[in-house]
Amino acid sequence: MSGLSIQNISMSFDLPNGGSVQALKDVTLNLKAGELLSVLGPSGCGKTTLLNIVAGFLVPTKGEILLHGNKVTGPSAERGMVFQQGALFEWMNVRENVGFGPRMKGVSTARAREKVDHLLDVVGLQDFKEKAIYELSGGMQQRVALARCLANDPDVILMDEPLGALDALTREKMQSLVLNLWKETGKTIVLITHSVEEALLLGERLLVMAPRPGRIHKEYRLPFADLGVDADLREIKKHDDYGDKREEILEMIWNMEEEIMGRTEVAG
């Protein structure tokens, strides 16, 4: 089968005091090729752990990940990752960062150049190809991170709060960029975010996770991502449906957070 299959994943971490904490419990999820999934949840619900398992950085205690029917055993170029920030290589300029993946595969810089330059055009950095990373703004750096990931032509793109550190205006522009890249490239994307709005706007499917232990709480299918490819994202925010969903999810997460705080008080 094609697509990404997350089967019965459980993950527990050993604590220094001898106990253990269960970060994920029986998470099962199937993604068709080309789907855009956004994952939302309160802090500590295991969403980043789940992403790290899919990426291959962590080995789950139980269960397995299949990509196109093949079991995932470690990190690889078929599953690209975009981090919140600080994952670019400051000792390379913009073009070298984007060309990093092809270079690791042994593709010569000259041969990769056309592709790299094209991707930099796509993300709007055509005038910044020779710049150092630290000369760019936060939003531009994330554009580089997106281009760097795409240069490897991965089957799945994993995004760990890629827009979390950006200001509101830049964030909105980048959301449009992510939608357009998704539509143009047809990649499977898993996007983790803290922002309910972002999850609604960018997710074709939206997963709300609950903490202690981390599990899937509720799933939505949304129309906004498809609309957003052509329309202004601000227009979509005026939809009645959008507003209702936003309130519903916000309240859901709010209740989870309150439950955690309550428990902490009893424990303390």
């Binding site: 790290n52 990426a55 291959g56 950085f57 470690g74 990190p75 690889s76 170029a77 599953r79 690209g80 990752m81 981090f83 919140q84 600080g86 994952a87 670019l88 290589f89 400051e90 000792w91 990093f100 993946g101 690791m104 595969k105 150092a132 990373i133 630290y134 760097r148 990931c149 490897n152 991965p154 994993l158």
Partner: protein, 316 residues
């Protein structure tokens, strides 16, 4: 009254009339002189003549009369002791005048000091620092990398490195002299040890300080372990290593001067130590200033290299 090294001729005076003739006396600055006032008189001390007052003030043995620029005292034998005021001036042995230091600089940079020219003294100190630092970095950086990458290495070497790092290199001088003598080998070992621990700790910090997201990013871009080492961990550690190198060069410079103070044939430290023994304060001052300038110059040079070679430092 006259300065040191100045030839003076006594001014001509009228000897005057009466039983006590006029006297004239020249005194060097910072010195005193006895005035045998009766040498040219008809009435002498042997004959019972005595001085009872100076400038109208009574004088006895043990009290001074203040006569403006000088003090006059009566000795037990009845002569006068003339003591010019020293003022707040410093004798050259305490603090030489700037022009004396400048002249000495010109002198020893051409004719040299203790068989070697000034440039040779300074150059040799610098040469020792460069060799010692180079050897320290050559061993320290791989050691630090190994400690940063392998728990086994960290387990074995961390206690040694953490213990040796705070030991001042100067405290090792006696041991190094016992082991290797006072020659070049001993100094090289000392400077090697001064640089080694600093470089090991800096490069370990550089390796273990790599952001895990950078390593993860490289993995998910298809890099192998060796490629991550080569393209991520090593460049990421360079800023820390440069900081360590700056500190190590400074410590080595301080250590070489101290080691040369103890024993050396040439070098900046030897120069000022020998000069001190011969009370050539101007050379000591000159040496201190030059040592300071070179130390500052080393630091500036390292900063410049840092700006050129690791421009991303502190901007990650």
């Amino acid at each position: 009254m006259h300065g040191t090294g100045v030839e003076v001729t006594l001014p001509e005076i009228e000897s005057g009339s009466g039983f006590a003739k006029n006297d004239v006396l020249a005194v060097k600055a910072y010195r005193t002189k006895l005035l045998k006032w009766d040498a040219n008189d008809s009435e002498t001390r042997k004959g019972g003549a005595k001085i009872v007052a100076v400038n109208g003030q009574l004088i006895v043995f043990g009290t001074d009369v203040d006569a403006g620029d000088l003090k006059i005292a009566l000795t037990q034998k009845g002569t006068l002791n003339v003591k010019p005021n020293k003022g707040i001036q410093m004798e050259p042995i305490w603090l030489p005048a700037p022009e004396d230091v400048w002249n000495r600089l010109k002198e020893i940079s051409t004719s040299g000091f203790k068989n070697y020219t000034l440039a040779e003294h300074l150059g040799f100190s610098l040469f020792r620092v460069v060799i010692g630092f180079f050897l320290g970095a050559l061993v320290g950086i791989p050691l630090g990398y190994a400690m940063g990458l392998s728990d086994w290495f960290r387990g074995w070497f961390d206690p040694i490195v953490e213990f040796m790092r705070p030991v001042p290199p100067l405290a090792l001088i006696p041991l190094v002299i016992i082991w290797a003598g006072i020659g070049e080998v001993g100094k090289t070992i000392l400077l090697f040890l001064a640089a080694l621990w600093i470089m090991a700790i800096a490069s370990r910090a550089g390796v273990s300080g790599v952001r895990i997201s950078k390593v993860h990013a490289a993995y998910s871009l298809g890099a192998s372990k060796w490629q991550i080492m080569r393209y991520v961990i090593v460049p990421n550690s360079l800023p820390e290593i440069f900081t360590g190198a700056r500190v190590a060069m400074g410590v080595c410079w301080g250590t070489v001067v101290a080691a040369e103070l103890v024993a050396a044939e040439k070098g900046a430290g030897m120069m000022i130590m020998v000069a001190s023994k011969f009370q050539q304060t101007d050379i000591v001052i000159l040496g201190i200033i030059l040592i300071g300038i070179i130390g500052f110059g080393i630091d500036m040079l390292m900063r410049w290299a840092e700006r050129i070679l690791v421009p991303w430092k502190g901007r990650g």
